[in-house]
């Protein structure tokens, strides 16, 4: 199942709007101006994901993970490599963070929560779908382990909408990925809602 260019533009624009809100929330929280960019949207099957990310995300990664259910259901994750996660925590808190301790994990969970809530909430509003969110969790594992946890549960083929993003805070740039993991049925519903974007809901 491949997204058309229009559908990719639509996702990128919805995420752009969501990130505008998330940036404002993070800015209010930290007192710093924050820029969130949405460079690229791609779709992969979950089996294709490790090779798509190899060379980009290596070793251990930090993943803020939220499950969502409703008319569209799946998993949403914000993934950063450990170096990026420590740098982001340092920039947001104004304190030098050398490793991902408990307090740093809390920061990443809250930042992930803000971004994922903004995205899923904006999808919910703009695509007119009802979604319920779970409590977010932070995983600190090798990338393949994190991807494998998304396969657990059922045999349904899963697709991943992979959105590369970057944070600019105080002139420092940190890259990360937003992943929305959907089964076939949810992806189909999601695409139907995307196709009606621009007719009733304006960008």
């Amino acid at each position: 199942m491949i997204l058309t260019d229009f559908q990719k533009y639509a996702i990128a624009e919805v995420v752009n709007i969501a990130f505008g809100r998330a940036a404002a929330s993070l800015s209010e929280l930290t007192g710093s101006r924050i820029l969130l960019k949405v460079p690229k949207v791609e779709v992969y099957t979950i089996d294709q994901l490790p090779s798509a990310l190899s060379g980009i995300l290596n070793g251990e990664v930090c993943a803020a993970h939220q499950i969502f259910t409703g008319q569209v259901s799946g998993d949403a994750l914000l993934i950063l490599d450990v170096k990026g996660a420590t740098a982001l925590t340092s920039l947001l808190t104004g304190e030098e963070v050398e490793s991902i301790g408990t307090s740093a994990k809390e920061v990443l969970i809250e930042v992930g929560n803000i971004l994922l809530n903004a995205c899923l909430g904006t999808f919910e509003n703009m695509l007119q779908v009802q979604i319920t969110f779970s409590v977010p969790h932070l995983h600190l594992h090798q990338l393949n382990h994190t991807i494998n946890t998304l396969r657990i549960g059922n045999e349904e083929i899963k697709y991943v909408i992979l959105i590369a993003t970057s944070f600019t805070i105080k002139d420092s740039n940190i890259g990360g990925y937003l992943m929305i993991v959907l089964g076939v049925v949810s992806l189909d519903k999601f695409i139907q809602c995307l196709n009606s974007l621009g007719k009733d809901r304006l960008l």
Partner: protein, 122 residues
């Protein structure tokens, strides 16, 4: 017929805006990035520019500055998903005539366009 230049790297945003503005009787030109926006401004001399901010390689703020350098009377509206106050202040300081947050309603954009164009005439 007044001419409006839309600058946005999102084809969807450009399509939606073009639809609204054409229906309202404006002639619309599109630019998918900053460089082509500046070229088109120079050639087409639109009455108004509506630009996004988060674009690469040339951000919308840069587009705003360069167009204002070429034409100090240029009328520019910024339409962006970035809702931070600091962004709005920066954009207005550089000479934008209106700042609209995405997603916006049809009435919001038409209202802003009509106010800016009326201001230009007077």
């Amino acid at each position: 017929m007044e001419k409006i230049l839309i600058v946005d790297d999102s084809a969807l945003s450009r399509k939606v805006l073009t639809g609204i503005l054409s229906e309202a009787g404006f002639s619309v030109i599109e630019a998918p990035d900053g460089m082509s926006a500046i070229e088109k401004y120079f050639i087409e001399k639109p009455d108004l520019v509506i630009t996004d901010l988060l674009m690469e390689p040339m951000p919308g703020l840069e587009v705003l500055k360069k167009i204002r350098e070429m034409d100090k009377d240029a009328c520019i509206i910024v339409a962006t998903a970035d809702i931070q106050d600091a962004t709005k202040e920066e954009v207005m300081k550089e000479g934008a005539m209106a700042f609209i947050n995405k997603p916006f309603k049809k009435e919001t954009i038409l209202d802003a366009v009509s106010k800016v164009l009326e201001g230009k005439k007077s």
